[in-house]
């Protein structure tokens, strides 16, 4: 099918490998990807920090851009949560009936990557090979907003060679929280320290998630302490193939 990719602003800027991996997985499964080049951000940072009025033009920009998409794939559960939980409210507050109608029509076509694969496309085995010890970190939005449950785990279980190790306290926040990480840096760091302890306890080589925001946070600490553990977005594991080796 024709899938529109919304890569998200921080993946575009900081994690191009994740975007490449999404394209590789979906193209391998025979889908046609389109990338609207005028795409930017979902508005989450502004909205969640309280800049609600400033978020509205960003939200409108997104809705205008994806209005006619068959399906929008977003490799970030927090951006999907932003769209599903807050776009309608923003539209209703604007009292613009066309805007409201556009949001209502678009919402059912918005998918987080793992959701798209398992729920929309009905695929669990994407033909990946990744012979490494991996632990999965469940982001708060994936758990409590998208209710992904074990969907990402089901995808990982089908990866050839993978050694999947469970993470303790899976439902506990890593302490990122967007601007929370700088506005309340000390508490955020204390939360991170607990999460890092759980990650280290797994003995995994790689910590994965459906959100690079959490992974950027986790890796910030893992790198500072030279822990020798990598973080990789789920898409990058799903894209890995035996004959291609690993993309760095």
């Amino acid at each position: 099918m024709r899938i529109s990719l919304f890569i998200t602003c921080y993946n575009d800027t900081l994690f191009p490998e994740t975007g490449k991996a999404v394209v590789r997985v979906l193209e391998r499964l025979g889908h046609q990807i389109e990338f609207p080049p005028d795409q930017t951000c979902c508005g989450q940072m502004h909205w969640n920090t309280g800049y609600l009025r400033e978020a509205v033009p960003i939200i409108r920009h997104f809705v205008d851009l994806y209005r006619d998409a068959d399906a929008v794939c977003i490799p970030s559960s927090s951006c999907v949560a932003m769209i599903r939980e807050h776009y309608l409210k923003a539209a209703v507050q604007s009292q613009d009936s066309a805007f409201i109608a556009d949001v209502e029509s678009l919402l059912p076509r918005i998918f987080e990557l793992s959701e798209l694969l398992v729920k929309k496309l009905g695929v669990e085995d994407v033909g990946a090979t990744f012979p490494h010890k991996v632990t999965y970190h469940a982001s708060c939005h994936s758990l409590r907003s998208l209710h992904l449950g074990d969907i990402p785990i089901r995808l990982l279980r089908q990866v050839r060679g993978i050694d999947l190790i469970g993470l303790q306290h899976l439902d506990r926040c890593c302490g990122f929280g967007g601007t929370f990480a700088v506005k309340n840096a000390d508490v955020s760091s204390a939360m991170l320290a607990e999460k890092i302890g759980d990650v280290l306890n797994t003995g995994a080589e790689v910590c994965t998630a459906v959100d690079n925001s959490c992974l950027m946070h986790l890796y910030g600490s893992l790198h500072r302490h030279a822990s020798g553990i990598r973080t990789m977005h789920l898409a990058e594991i799903l894209a890995a193939e035996a004959d291609r080796g690993e993309e760095e």
């Binding site: 800027t13 930017t40 309280g50 790198h223 500072r224």
Partner: protein, 492 residues
């Protein structure tokens, strides 16, 4: 009108208070241990309930109905309570409530008064006001007694002394009760408290309580507790004065069916509270012969008038949101500078008091949503937090300092970038150039200036890669679809 709330006016804002408390290793251990224990107990008794989600929905619907019809339910309560021999007093704010309570106590020439645990009286600073008029207050809830004897502040709405461990409690009792040989077993401590309190229960004829629920239909008041000290307070004295927020009313007696299931399971992980006291006015020859209830507004009407934030008032004070909160878990309750700590405090306190300190509270959350998930009346706390952040930003933007502040400028610039792909591409380019001085030998960013320094104090930041995804895509698109055949209308 801004409500008067008893708090330390100069309490540091949340980030500063938290920074101090994070250094208290003992406190953090106590808080983690206590919240872990309660959360695990809660999970067991919630998971065994097949209709838990239905109970949450019912609780939410009952409380929403109360908010929609609060005026009529309160009048109904007043009539029923008065009919049953109670005396109803209305207090617009904290000063009003304290004045009414003090007048009642003076009318009884009370020099001492018993108290059963009440967060509402903490909210209005009743104990200090009574002390100032020369009336000695004796807290009778074990945890409140520990707080009072330790000259401390409650850190949790259900378990106020959750930040203290047994050894610390023993030290307080040894010192204040003059028991140098007191052991630290739970039995030792409760036995000491028991004999300390028993004497007071039998001697002092006036008591002050809070309330968990007020039943409009019958005029009854309900207090639930675990120790029985509350039952003593509610039944032994001749005069009982209850102080309750106006939102505590529920329509019918049978509505207790829902809350007496959800409240104990959410609060303490018990299937039922050991003591459930319900009384209706006065009864000749049994219990207090004089009953007063002070119905306190203190800013609640204002919260009710805000359709986005009024769900705050659905709260039944179970504290489950505090126990699961990963922020509260690190700091404990004192960081919030309010009797209402944790997620519920982060939304309630700034609505009760519009201060600079309380404006830091809605930001004391990573918006992880654990609080909403456990809330027995389905308060969408993250949604209210964002709504309050929105109000705070608007207020700040109305000041010159706020307008030219780093956060506002940064957000305005970002907002102007995020409406165009070209502008984002340009910003990415500028970022790649601008970051160069900050990249260390490791190839990572270890120090950032100004507000971003919060990130790098404990976390490295990977620099922007040479190529953004959008740049890679334009190459990929060309490579995978090299030529567009015009003969078929340009379709790929």
């Amino acid at each position: 009108m801004t409500a008067e709330v008893s708090r330390e006016r100069l309490h540091p804002d949340f980030p500063a208070a938290a920074k101090n408390l994070l250094r208290d290793v003992q406190l953090r251990q106590n808080v983690r241990h206590a919240t872990d224990v309660i959360t695990a107990k809660r999970e067991v008794v919630v998971d065994e309930m097949e209709d838990w989600q239905a109970l949450r929905s019912a609780g939410s619907a009952i409380r929403q109905n109360v908010l929609d019809n609060l005026d009529s339910y309160l009048v109904q309560f007043e009539e029923a309570c008065t009919r049953a021999g109670g005396q109803v007093h209305w207090a617009i704010n904290a000063a009003d409530a304290k004045r009414i309570a003090i007048d009642l106590l003076k009318a009884h020439s009370a020099e001492e008064v018993l108290k059963v645990k009440s967060m509402t009286t903490e909210e209005i600073g009743l104990n200090e006001a009574l002390a100032n008029t020369g009336i000695r207050v004796h807290e009778t809830d074990l945890a409140e007694l520990i707080i009072q004897l330790g000259n401390d502040k409650p850190s949790h709405i259900v378990v106020p002394a959750l930040h203290k461990n047994r050894q610390q409690v023993r030290a307080i009792f040894q010192r204040e009760m003059h028991l140098p040989d007191l052991g630290d077993k739970p039995e030792d401590l409760t036995a000491a408290a028991r004999s300390y309190l028993r004497e007071k229960f039998l001697r002092i004829p006036v008591a002050i309580s809070g309330a968990n629920f007020l039943v409009a239909e019958t005029g009854s008041v309900c207090v639930v507790e675990s120790e029985g000290n509350g039952r003593m307070c509610l039944t032994l004295p001749n005069t009982l004065i209850t102080i309750a927020g106006i939102e505590k009313v529920i329509p019918r007696f049978r509505d207790l069916e829902v809350f007496l299931q959800t409240l104990p399971r959410s609060a303490t992980g018990e299937r039922m509270n050991p003591y459930n006291s319900v009384w209706t006015g006065t009864y000749p020859g049994d219990g207090p012969q004089e009953f007063h209830i002070i119905l306190l507004d203190n800013g609640r009407s204002e919260i009710l008038a805000d359709p986005e934030a009024q769900q705050t008032l659905k709260c039944i004070r179970c504290g489950a949101c505090q126990n699961v909160c990963p922020v509260y878990r690190q700091t404990g309750g004192h960081a919030y500078g309010s009797v209402y700590a944790g997620p519920i405090g982060a939304i309630l306190t700034p609505q009760l008091e519009h201060s600079r300190q309380s404006a830091s509270l809605p930001y004391a959350s990573s918006l992880c949503g654990a609080c909403y998930e456990v809330c027995p009346v389905q308060i969408n706390i993250p949604e209210v937090l964002i709504h309050l952040r929105g109000q705070i930003v608007r207020r700040e933007q109305a000041t010159v300092g706020g307008k030219v502040g780093l956060w506002n400028i940064g957000m305005q610039v970002a907002a102007s970038i995020f409406v165009s792909g070209d502008r984002l591409a340009l910003a990415q380019h500028l970022g790649r150039v601008g970051q160069k001085p900050f990249i260390g030998k490791s190839g990572f960013i270890k120090h950032l200036p100004l507000v971003l320094g919060g990130w790098t104090q404990t976390r490295d930041l990977m620099p922007l890669p040479e190529q953004s995804f959008r740049q890679w895509w334009s190459q990929h698109e060309k490579a995978s679809r090299p030529s567009v055949d015009i003969s078929d209308g340009g379709r790929v």
